[in-house]
Symmetry: C2
Subunit: 406 residues, 2 copies
């Protein structure tokens, strides 16, 4: 019997038992007092691992190396990450550097290179400074509560870390699932986040973990849109080390569904944090679609709402311009019958059966001035439902992105 999914106050990736993390500043990223640019995560024992990566046809060689490592089927002990340089668009040197980064980190950990995953995020087209990477591995001190340092070392244009953790009792054993993420621009489905690491002290069968992760990614990170762009480096990784001592979870376990729900909840929380910290964002946008013909239609409709620049601009201006919701739903590709559609803004019905409902405009504007704007859509056709997350579009987004390398 599974207990409730309970948030862990101050949860970060090292909230899961048997994981240590640390970070340092080596000089890859422009210096600022509270920033770090290189981090590492180590499990005391070998982990089951699953990963979902960018669907871009032009990927960082670091992604290629991780795909190979995971495809080989062995267990993993840890990871190393740098921010500031993406290790992408540098020709064949990128693959050589990614392999060397894994080897250097593995030597630091005292494990094998094929047990270490490598991640880079930042500017495209610049080679990794391997001397600095080696210096970082020497300097980083791992600790049981180093998760926040790791989260900080991954940040690029992020204004805050993304960290969360939950605990759940499965069959009498408390297990932890916790994670960190980074990304605030170049975020769009396939994959949504640039980098997201999740650790759990549950014992989880690797095949089971790999079976459930793509589905979870599709309903969480892949339903996030900041600016419609997909990075060459986007990666989601889950490591499970079994330190909690539970009976290994498989697809036939009684608690398989409960574990999947708890892992989904961690990714929903990280997705929300990523959306809230979108480049220049002032508000979180949540689109909840129900009544769609099927799941695919619900996802298309929800994603089209949160990725529409006109919807995003209207939210920034606290403008209940519901015509833009109709426009977005109409172009989404989802099946619709206009006279069936109900629309809600933060719970207030503004369209019923395809016709505008007289609503108290000032009240809705006031609701939209809050930190979170929720669009509810009922297509009233069948049972498809989905949620997507995004953020508003502000002048600040343009300012940030028109002067990134200059």
């Amino acid at each position: 019997m599974a207990g409730p999914i309970t948030p862990v106050e101050g949860g970060t990736i090292t909230t899961a038992q048997g994981f240590k993390a640390g970070a340092t500043y080596v000089g890859i990223k422009t210096f600022s007092e509270d920033k770090m640019d290189m981090g590492m995560l180590l499990s005391d024992t070998p982990c089951s691992v699953a990963g979902v990566f960018t669907k871009s046809s032009l990927v960082s060689p670091s992604v290629t190396v991780n795909r190979e490592t995971i495809a080989a089927g062995g267990s993993v002990r840890g990871l190393v990450v740098n921010s500031g340089i993406a290790n992408a668009g540098v020709g064949e040197q990128g693959y050589i550097d990614a392999k060397e980064m894994a080897a250097v980190a593995a030597a630091g950990f005292g494990v094998k290179p094929e047990e270490v995953l490598v991640f880079s995020t930042g500017v495209i087209g610049v080679e990794l400074p391997m001397t600095l990477i080696k210096k970082g591995v020497d300097e980083i001190e791992l600790s049981d509560d180093g998760g926040n340092f790791l989260a900080r070392s991954m940040m690029t244009t992020d204004t805050r870390t993304k960290e969360t953790g939950v605990t759940i009792n499965l069959g009498g054993t408390d297990i932890n699932i916790s994670g960190v993420a980074k990304g605030s621009g170049m975020i769009h489905p396939n994959m949504a986040t640039m980098l997201c690491f999740v650790a759990t002290d549950a014992a989880v069968d690797q095949d089971f973990l790999r079976f459930i992760l793509p589905d979870i990614a599709d309903s969480t990170l892949n339903m996030l849109d900041i600016d419609g762009d997909t990075s060459t480096n986007d990666s989601l990784i889950v490591l499970a080390n079994g330190a909690a001592g539970n009976t290994t979870l498989t697809s036939s376990s009684e608690d398989a569904g409960a574990f999947k729900d708890a892992l989904t909840e961690v990714l929903v929380q990280l997705t929300r944090q990523l959306a809230q910290d979108g480049e220049g964002a002032s508000k979180l946008i949540v689109a909840e679609v129900e009544g769609a013909r099927n799941l695919a239609d619900a996802r298309m409709a929800a994603k089209t709402i949160t990725s529409s620049l006109l919807v995003k601009s209207a939210v920034y201006g606290s403008d209940p311009n519901w015509g833009r919701l109709i426009m977005a739903i109409g172009r989404s590709g989802a099946e619709t019958v206009e006279s069936n559609i109900d629309l809600y803004i933060n719970g207030v019905c503004i369209m019923e059966a395809g016709k505008p409902v007289p609503f108290h405009r000032d009240a809705v504007v006031a609701l939209m001035r809050g930190d979170e704007v929720t669009f509810g859509v009922n297509l009233n056709l069948a049972d498809g439902r989905a949620t997507s997350w995004g953020c508003d579009l502000t002048e600040e987004y343009v300012v940030i992105n028109s002067a990134y390398t200059t």
Copy 2:
């Protein structure tokens, strides 16, 4: 034998012979000195007609009425258009109003309702004020040089009219093809422009016109992206009245290809003007992709570049951040081989065979400070080539769209 395609100085839709246009201000749109909000176009004689409409599943009933008119297969004499209100999202009244608008205009023209097309653009969710529409029909005076008035009456957030015309000699007869368009936000493939009307005094077989128009739209207006959104009202209409006295053009005419090229040129010019006047735009962006596996791949790659917010923001900042081009090409869905890719910015090679080329950064920044930024991409795989058009993303876009109805 066809002569060269020659631009007509000051060309507008009434440059084509036998077409009259006019416009007025009736009070649908907020008043400003030089704006009009209702216009009409009439051909002296019946026209062959072809149309391409929005692919949104939620369309304005005006689009529905035009689809029915065109599907009925008869000839068309003219059109009526209003700006300020889109006649969309108003329930069944929208269809009734669209039919009445056609009937009122037809009575004004002295033709049948089924010979008149109707167009509306503006805010969604507000009913058309039919009394004002009737007043407009009474007031509008048609003239042989009224094309500019028609172009002005279609504008919403447009800052200038979009008008062009070309002439070409086909088999000894000079024919004119000319057009007007409007649209500066909610512009994205399927359809790209909100409203685009083209008139030609050539005699063109209706079946031939309908055969070539979708293909032309796909390589012009559907390769335009301002902000990724698709309107409920987007429409492209071509009317051919035969006033030039040429032998009717059909798919088997010697000059069929030359006519298609000339019509394409008119639409390229209007597409460029629409991109240049994108909401908040300061620069035109042109992406020219060659060497793709096929046409579909070339179009995907080109469109993804001009629709990427990160690319658009970089252009605004005159930032030669070519990593964002790689990102866009990679996520476009086009087949790529990284080590084959060449990139150019305004003709300067910045990547060759997948590797950055040392370029004079200040010189490229200076080139990017001009009115037009061209990205050249050679995927070096096969012969697929395509061009797309867009504009940069500026703070002004956000300002315009966060306060549209408020």
